[in-house]
Symmetry: D2
Subunit: 301 residues, 4 copies
Amino acid sequence: MLNSRWFLEITSDTEVNMHALEEVIYSSRTKYQKLEILRLGRFGKSLILDGKMQSAEADEFIYHECLVHPVLLAHGDPRNVLIAGGGEGATIREVLRWPTVEKVYMVDLDREVVEVCKQYMPEWHKGAFNDSRVKVFYEDARKFIAEASEKFDVIILDLPEPMEAGPAIMLYTEEFYKEVANHLTPGGVMVTQATTVSIINCDAFAIIYKTISEVFKVVRPYWTAVPSFYTPWGFVFASNGKDPKGLDVGEIKERLTKIDGALKFYNPEIHLALFAIPEYLKDILEKETRVNRDSSPISFY
Amino acid sequence: MLNSRWFLEITSDTEVNMHALEEVIYSSRTKYQKLEILRLGRFGKSLILDGKMQSAEADEFIYHECLVHPVLLAHGDPRNVLIAGGGEGATIREVLRWPTVEKVYMVDLDREVVEVCKQYMPEWHKGAFNDSRVKVFYEDARKFIAEASEKFDVIILDLPEPMEAGPAIMLYTEEFYKEVANHLTPGGVMVTQATTVSIINCDAFAIIYKTISEVFKVVRPYWTAVPSFYTPWGFVFASNGKDPKGLDVGEIKERLTKIDGALKFYNPEIHLALFAIPEYLKDILEKETRVNRDSSPISFY
Amino acid sequence: MLNSRWFLEITSDTEVNMHALEEVIYSSRTKYQKLEILRLGRFGKSLILDGKMQSAEADEFIYHECLVHPVLLAHGDPRNVLIAGGGEGATIREVLRWPTVEKVYMVDLDREVVEVCKQYMPEWHKGAFNDSRVKVFYEDARKFIAEASEKFDVIILDLPEPMEAGPAIMLYTEEFYKEVANHLTPGGVMVTQATTVSIINCDAFAIIYKTISEVFKVVRPYWTAVPSFYTPWGFVFASNGKDPKGLDVGEIKERLTKIDGALKFYNPEIHLALFAIPEYLKDILEKETRVNRDSSPISFY
Amino acid sequence: MLNSRWFLEITSDTEVNMHALEEVIYSSRTKYQKLEILRLGRFGKSLILDGKMQSAEADEFIYHECLVHPVLLAHGDPRNVLIAGGGEGATIREVLRWPTVEKVYMVDLDREVVEVCKQYMPEWHKGAFNDSRVKVFYEDARKFIAEASEKFDVIILDLPEPMEAGPAIMLYTEEFYKEVANHLTPGGVMVTQATTVSIINCDAFAIIYKTISEVFKVVRPYWTAVPSFYTPWGFVFASNGKDPKGLDVGEIKERLTKIDGALKFYNPEIHLALFAIPEYLKDILEKETRVNRDSSPISFY
């Protein structure tokens, strides 16, 4: 017998994903967005913002390992790391595995999301918020970066989708990426989550890629499958020098020996596999001409 | 406004995928299974058997290129190819790109499926059924292989899921894989589609891998994301010598220059990326002990 | 196993009805609205306009008998009948059962709907469009009535829901009902379908009732359950004299003996039952103060 | 924007009702059935057993008033009342409005359901469980009645649907109704809820009617629309003498003056309306020949 309770994630006007809904752990409308923590079928506890799956207990490690490790590994000696977004605390958790890291700033607009994640989602942060290297700011990430007097070795953009009326719409524009570039130390690197790369819906990915390419010299799109997202997921790495794709397996292996604890998804072969781009997607990325600008930021839904 | 008509693919008792249903192109109950050709949201024309998505116009090339090219490339000089299943004709289409191929047998139980695909899905077969190298048999693939007097350089198992009461349940057992092995020429290779590798549902993949490992010396699991399946998808390559993983990029490139027409997904980097197995999946595959046997074949749904 | 194809009727942001979708018989976007003829689960062939169920083969007789017979029976001697809307032809069919009827005008804005119903839904009209007493006009019903030089014994408003941007939004206002009143013969009567009376959603019904009460002296709300609507359904009868509620069973029986053919829902007991209003609905109707006017017509969804 | 969380009531393999799911108030698997208390869209707090809506805060009064008052009113002087099922306590609540009532026994198999309703659904019972006239037994109703040494003026069967493997399947058979008849005082009356009367699904109603007709002399089917059930709902009244249909409006009015508190649905006109049977349903009831017996009790889903 089918379950009686469901979570429906409406990913477009023609695609909907249904998950059996075991439990509503938390539900509210924060100052900025609709916040739900739900227990879903085989994916377990899950964070949902404005109806969109952010991460699920069963496979959040795939997203977070793929977001964090390529960029930190590419840097080689990350000390100061800035995370924009990342309310669950899992991005901090992965960053803290790198022993060179001395300082992690996390900037999230929505204090309620962070506090609710702290309380209800310890499987994600695993106490990372309490690490003495970590400092959390509840501010608009764009404003925080623009006004920051410090620079960072690594900036990680772990943001919700750029939806109209959503809190992250101004965090995918050329002007924002320039602020990011201005706040990287020499040799600094950045990464952003970059929405779905599904062939039926990869416009946003291509535009983000093109926009970042206007600002940085080395831009590496990459992707993997995150089952709870029901669609292959994209990321874009950028720097003005360092390149995660130029590394050989031996070098990757050596750098990975330094990190604390066992990884569940990422490994040297996966590192290289992430950057393999299918032919059709190469074409799409090459042909993309749209640059996302403040004057008319694109809403991808 | 959301669409009014939907196709629901029930992939487990806790997960359902909904696609906007533009058109019911064909619907019948064949002698063996429920057959539907539907036009779905952004995925376009799609073949559905017993309620399960088989392939969609928008991204069938991902599945079919990943099923066919690694195994033919690994063989190096494929002449005789046997396809079990593959009713859409797209597997034949990809096999025929290799100029060394002299003969392609396709064995599909369900004549109605093949004839309906021929008529309604020319975007898949692109006339491949008319190629003089191709011969189609409407028989049980297991019986056909067991009784075949010929041997094949490559055997491709392009089958529906092993569902209870479904037509393919006896085509994933150790006894069947032994028949396959017995009908390979020296240096012969095989591949099977191997169901989802999603972390929430990878039992079937692990059992297929383990079962094939009882029969063949070289067994290479691999996977990619096929968006219309909404879940990462697995394949298992097997042989008693040749190894698609042992090849270097130069060798792959050279072999790929021989094929006719442009590929849309597969390329040398993708070839290597396909075989990168995440840490959690390595663990699952290593620990799997179940072998699927005729005496109690596992139904994966 | 659940069906794979579904029609979803979104009746509010918190209620959706799903019907197994057997066949898409016709689907188009007319000049005025989205038009679908679908074959649905146990309800059979169904007409859907802008995603809303209009009538289903299995139970359209309930709606059409309850719309037509109380008002014609109350009139007693109907000769000239005007139907606004009613594209399926089933309202004409029921009207033509009364042998006194000499002339039936039907005015429907959407020629495509009527022509498609004629062709694909003969179970509804049963040839009624060919009756020599019938004349169909493809015009805006409001304009037609305002400009009509004739008057009618009975006016039947068989309209789609008053939805924003829908074709019927101006056909539920006080100004329109005044035009209706002006085009009734002495002793004339009218009826309108009046949306759901469900306790969770009966605002529209109450407003229609209140609006009509501004124009007519005798106003009788009534309702029944139409299973394919999944919600109890309302109607409002109005006149400046005749009253369907004042009749006794003997009188109803006698009048009903005159009609041609057997009824499937309506009978004298049902006639009386239709006008029984539950206590909570009496309260709601009594307290309603909103009158629907041209200046700001209410959209009920 | 559509809600993200939904309750799906699967009422047949071709019909499903979706309600926005605001809150999971309680969810468990009791010894006998799956129990959920959910807050649903506009229907509010709702009791769900084995995935089927039992009653909703917004309109439970319709079901409970229609179940209780016709039978108590028909009796005229009810003193001892037995309720089988009725875990929410709303049936007791309505029974206690009749001042002649001296004793109410409620027999419900599932102690957990009753205790959870007591705690979480005070809007239903309104303290009725604490009335000194009430006694609750946690037993199989069939066994309780068979072994009862007392007789009752009124027996009310407020049971879940007769589903295979459900707890109520043996409470709709001829043998059971004979036990009920044997435990009525002279002049005693009974009523049972009798599943949907929708034209697409009225087999169960017809069989229950036919089965009861084998046992009692006066059998009166009746029905109304309960919006949260999304389908018109049936009841069957039975006695060996008294007849709710034989009463005139004056008599009904007089009897109703006696009850405590204001009714929200039921009134004299509604009483008469409930018993009006549409033509198609008369035909179905007359033609039904199946009697539901212990030897092969029918499961209606």
